[in-house]
Chain length 181, copies 2
Amino acid sequence: MGRVSAQDWARAALDALAEDGFAAVAVEPVAARLGVTKGSFYWHFANRQKLIEAALALWEADSEQIIANLWEITDPARRMRTLLGAAFGDPRDAAIAFRLIGAADDPAVAEVARRVTARRLDVMRQTLEELGQPPDLARRRVLAGYGVYVGVAALRRIGMLDDSAEFVETAVAEMGLDLPP
Amino acid sequence: MGRVSAQDWARAALDALAEDGFAAVAVEPVAARLGVTKGSFYWHFANRQKLIEAALALWEADSEQIIANLWEITDPARRMRTLLGAAFGDPRDAAIAFRLIGAADDPAVAEVARRVTARRLDVMRQTLEELGQPPDLARRRVLAGYGVYVGVAALRRIGMLDDSAEFVETAVAEMGLDLPP
DNA sequence: TGACCTCCATACGGTTGCGTATGGTCCGAC
DNA sequence: GTCGGACCATACGCAACCGTATGGAGGTCA
């Protein structure tokens, strides 16, 4: 296993975070995951905190990429349905989100979580407004929909729900959209 | 600081979990919190895992105690309102819940989270049925209400919501209860 | 008083992770 | 080809934590 970039380190760190939590975002374990040693790490980064920040930045960038792809869907109803389907169908992102919320005592973690969440809520709100819903109603429905999303993801993580396809429909209905796919 | 019981250890461990996360549920830091040393710990417990389990058991017992107090409220509408007010007004319990959900890869953690959550959902469902709501509707509304609860708690933890009094009303309305307090 | 039991302090070895220092390898520039 | 820089391995000291071993303080009960 040859050379690795700072990007590779960030990606591996994000993987470790998703799979095993913040404690696993440690220099030596991630190095082993990449097949290199600490020597590589401290060339690319100053310390462990920078690695965590890089992983969070990568997560944010991934999220932005998904949003960018979403905006290519011009029909707002179809866009919202795609959004919800992707959100409910991605346990990895949900796992990361819960680790961040759990570790939100760290201001750096909280800030990234806040920024990404705000961005996602805004995408939903804007899409609902495109559908002709008044701003205040859109805002409340987005919060409700986000609540259902987080709640369902929580129940799935602790093994109380197997399938969540049903709840995509719930969320869709919650937002005043009962359009066909 | 004199002698401490296994209960004291479990309580201090639960405090550490709520405040600083699972990594803080370590023998020596909790010992310092209690003003004793490891010698005390390894008299009461076999290892660190047992301490974690004791903390989770204590959390479950606390939860059961709250539920027991709740059942003393005979009027189901008032009981539900009290329940929601207590739930939304307790950031400590929310913090513990998110740490557990985030660490749900550990089967022991997931099992406790599952049991406590199931118990709480059941209390809500049963209360709604007492209010005359058909079982299937009650079940769906409990899931929606739980979703709003978890979602709001998540937003509060990352600092996106200051007050949540508004959402008690939202959750109440979500469940088909628009009764006065 | 003395034997005994409960509970805890202290000291120890082992592991894991952080961060630094230093030397080695590969590769392009010239 | 050799020189220099990019990149990595290795070795080290340090700190935190786990679990064990052992002895000591304090109370109890005969």
